[in-house]
Amino acid sequence: MVIKLLTDVEVKIAEKEVLRYQGYPRAKTPEGEIVETLASEIEEGYRLIEPKAIYSEIKRLEVAHNQIILENNLVLNAEKAVKEWQDLQILGVALCTIGIELERKVSELFALGEYPAALMLDSVGSAAVESLVDHVNYHICHRARKTGMIVGPRLSPGYGKWGLQDQKVLFSLLPAENIGVRLNEQCMMIPRKSVSFCVGMGREIKVKKPCRYCGLEDCPYRTG
């Protein structure tokens, strides 16, 4: 099983994304202090984040009904994933985090009553981790293309009908402690600005809009 540690991954924090996390519509342009706070918290975010990721490829697997069955009796109950990744040959499993310092600063700001800065910085963190995920996804696609594999859309436990409990399976496959991430009893990742995801790969995978969950608009592998 291949396990890769990625510590030199690009993260780009987009202003529109930071505002989107606070419910700001794309068409609307903020003014005044919101613009200043946005700029200062993005700068603070870049200072605080410690982006890291680990990634593993599982080649010994079988798909049965709505499950992906892995070694050691590990099972992913992922009906949507099975449909999206038909003819799955390799399962890519990734865990990404921006570390804990940003969320500590968010808590400090809330305690000080600096509500706009607190929520802005929290949204910066969300935008940062999603950017990290996009770039790790690119890394996976780049590796896959070299071996003639097609990469399906990325999916994560806890979204849609994929139960959050399957996080335990992903965490048994990855040395999460190597990037300072753990899972609590309720399958919540700590630090909170962490994302796990899976991608299905295969030579015959046929999927519409495989890149629809990825935000990397200028990715050379982007289709649909």
Partner: protein, 212 residues
């Protein structure tokens, strides 16, 4: 423009420094503390909440207003306490056991403070019994319970059951919210109310406590 209106407009505009100065000015002019609170600060945040519900403003603007309101409230608070003026209501906020998300809970607390509530924040990962103990110790009348992950949602139900077992049903109102919570789920678990966001939580809280 009279000073109360100026306070109100500057809270709506999110101008914390101006609000601070205007509240001091109002007090220096001999204005009644409770009037400054109700007609300046709380009225401003009511307008802010309504504008948010109408999608005229968004969360960042709401928070600048909340910050400005807090700036004014910090000056009034010692005077309110010494005059024996009680908050509009007392509410407990907390995120259920196993869940450490706190942003939504913090926003609800902020907006409820803006409406004149006293808030006791129990934090995150709060077991049902601590909600009970906090309610009993503080004499809270409203319990705001947050959950953002499906695996912790069941603890909302056990928290409400724990409040009932402690004989608090009928004495307190429970309000639930969070990304995974729906009005249907709120009904199923016996919550008194549900709010989809922090601004709506204020309106619902007032309804539940008969303050609207």
């Amino acid at each position: 423009m009279d000073v109360l209106n100026e306070i109100k407009e500057n809270i709506i505009a999110g101008q914390a420094d101006m609000v601070r100065e205007l509240v001091k000015k109002a007090l220096n002019e001999g204005m009644n503390v409770e009037d400054v609170l109700n007609e300046g600060l709380i009225l401003a945040m009511t307008v802010v909440g309504e504008r948010f519900e109408r999608k005229e403003i968004y969360v960042p603007e709401v928070l600048f207003s909340a910050r400005a309101m807090r700036a004014g409230l910090e000056i009034l608070e010692p005077l309110l306490i010494s005059a024996g003026i009680e908050p509009k209501g007392k509410a407990i906020t907390g995120t259920v056991k196993g869940d450490i998300h706190d942003i939504g809970k913090n926003l609800v607390g902020t907006m409820l403070k803006g409406a004149g509530f006293a808030i006791i924040d129990l934090g995150v990962d709060v077991p049902p019994q601590r909600f009970v103990e906090g309610t009993q110790a503080e004499g809270a009348k409203l319990i705001c319970i947050s959950s953002l992950i499906t695996t912790s949602m069941p603890y909302m139900k056990t928290t409400i059951e724990a409040l009932e077992s402690a004989g608090l049903k009928g004495q307190v109102k429970t309000m639930v919210g969070g990304a995974v919570v729906t009005p249907k789920y709120a009904d199923e678990i016996g919550a008194d109310g549900y709010a989809p966001n922090a601004a709506a939580a204020v309106a619902r809280a007032k309804q539940l406590l008969g303050l609207d």
